[in-house]
């Protein structure tokens, strides 16, 4: 699935549809969500105070451990663990976790790609660090998706329903109490997207 291979916004009035398409694009961009979303469909019905959204996510990868992003090497003689970074994007999370465990005083960064940790038990610590979870993109994605949904919805629609399961996300918002059929409609939109998004 390509990112945003289906991007549909439906509304009774064409111009309003365009406004919301732009709002959704802007919010996707500011939350850096566009690469994570495969298919998205939004239906607007201002006369019923209703906003429905269905999203199918792309594979966003699983949990990231240190060994996925760096080489870890124990240096028993020097009493050090050397970490050579391969993927720079996770450095903030990695450093955060290392600081928490070893303290800032025991960690040095001789250059951009290297982190050195001073420790008494290099071998054991190296083994631990290798398996340590650095980041969980799915967790971050969930937070961002909910944030995105709230930002894209018209502000007054404060009664909300959301479902996040596997790679599927459904969001319904309204000003009135939610009706069952609205949620079912959103579910149907999701089915439609799953089948390849027949318009």
């Amino acid at each position: 699935m390509d990112s945003l291979e289906i991007f549909v916004v439906e509304s009774a009035i064409d111009s309003e549809q365009e406004f919301y398409r732009k709002i959704i694009e802007d919010n996707l961009a500011s939350l850096k969500l566009a690469p994570a979303i495969g298919r998205i469909k939004v239906v607007l019905r201002p006369e019923d105070s209703l906003f429905q959204m269905a999203i199918i996510l792309r594979d966003v990868g699983t949990r990231v451990t240190t060994i996925d992003i760096a080489d870890v090497e124990a240096k028993p003689v020097a009493g050090e663990v050397m970490i050579s970074i391969k993927k720079e994007q996770y450095i903030p999370e990695l450093l955060g976790k290392l600081w928490e465990r070893y303290g800032k005083a025991n960690i040095s960064q001789p250059d951009r790609w290297t982190v050195a940790i001073t420790t008494d038990k290099p071998a054991e610590e190296a083994a631990f660090i290798k398996e340590m979870m650095v980041a969980d993109p799915r967790h971050r994605l969930h937070e961002n998706l909910v944030d995105f949904a709230v930002r894209a919805t018209p502000e007054g629609f404060r009664v909300r329903y959301h479902l996040y399961k596997g790679n599927r996300f459904v969001f319904v918002a309204s000003e009135e109490a939610l009706k069952h059929e609205w949620i079912e409609e959103a579910g149907a939109m999701l089915e439609e997207l799953t089948e390849g998004g027949k318009k």
Binding site: I23, P154, G156
Partner: protein, 311 residues
């Protein structure tokens, strides 16, 4: 009576004092002076017959002098709430753009303005909005909301109402209660910078200027007992504490009065007793009351017909 015209000078800080001195000599007024780094913006009221002299001096100083039709107008930019749906775009963009022609804008976010059925405004908010000269309501993208649901927010607003919204095809008549509708400025999540968006902002400035000049024409039929700019100058001379106020516009001019950004309880008597050369005090010429905004002082000048004379 001298006709004063509003102008904005933009130029370097170097020697801009000459301009201020010239304004004193000519009998004009400096409404606001904003220094940013090495740049200075002066908003001023210049006597009509002396404009050429000021133009010549600003040319010598390598600055730019342009007309600022919204000088001395205080505008309320009202957005349904202060949530991220409206801020910083588009409400801030609108407020900022209205300042280009010299207006002072205040942003007001209603507590419960969002939504269709549930939107409402409070008595306090309406009174606060009514203290301004013009209210600009920034609405969203649905024409259904703008024409049917949101106009209830206009109830109790006595000043001219300008509405901005997304749909370009709506007309002013379609929005009940509005004096002007400007399209193409709906809900956006990016900075307004595309051609049609800037055009819409220009339309807004033009429309608001027109409303301001209509108010001025109405006023000319029964002029104010004293010019707000003159009251401003007297306050600067007689209430030295105003110099220590850190707000960007300690004295904010309005079309029919001014807002003094000093605490009411401490200073209202001083303001009421403000003396003019003609021997009258301000309380004879104006209503002085507590502003809904932060306990400031609000001066609304009476008309000549009310007072019986004008100075």
């Amino acid at each position: 009576m001298v006709v004063l015209l509003p102008y904005l000078y933009t130029g370097g800080v170097h020697k801009h004092g000459l301009l201020i001195e010239l304004m004193e000599d000519l009998g004009g007024y400096i409404i606001q002076k904003v220094v940013t780094g090495t740049e200075v913006n002066l908003i001023m009221l210049i006597p009509e017959k002396d404009i050429d002299i000021v133009k010549k001096l600003s040319h010598e100083l390598l600055g730019v002098l342009m007309e600022a039709p919204l000088t001395g107008v205080e505008i309320a930019v009202v957005s349904p709430t202060l949530a991220s749906h409206h801020l910083p775009h588009s409400a801030c963009d609108i407020a900022e753009y209205l300042r280009h022609p010299g207006a002072n804008t205040n942003m007001i976010g209603l507590a419960r303005g969002m939504g269709r059925r549930v939107s409402l405004s409070m008595d306090y908010e309406r009174k606060l909005i009514n203290e301004h000269d013009i209210a600009v309501f920034t609405f969203g993208s649905f024409s259904d909301c703008i024409t049917k649901k949101k106009p209830k927010l206009f109830e109790g607003i006595e000043i001219p109402i300008v509405v901005t919204g997304g749909p370009a095809e709506l007309k002013t008549e379609d929005v009940p209660g509005a004096d002007l509708y400007i399209g193409n400025i709906g809900r956006v999540s990016h900075r307004l910078r595309r051609t049609e968006e800037i055009n819409a902002l220009d339309n807004l400035n033009e429309g608001v200027s027109k409303i301001a000049s209509e108010i001025r024409q109405q006023q000319a039929k029964d002029p104010l007992a004293v010019l707000p700019a003159r009251v401003m100058k007297e306050i600067e001379n007689q209430v030295p504490e105003i110099r220590r106020v850190l707000s960007p516009a300690p004295l904010t001019l309005q079309l029919d009065g001014l807002r003094v950004k000093l605490p009411y309880d401490e200073f209202h008597e001083k303001i009421e007793k403000l003396e003019f050369d003609e021997g009258v005090v301000l309380s004879e010429l104006a209503n002085i009351s507590r502003s809904k905004m932060k306990n400031y002082i609000l001066i609304k000048i009476k008309s000549k017909s009310d007072v019986g004379f004008a100075i």
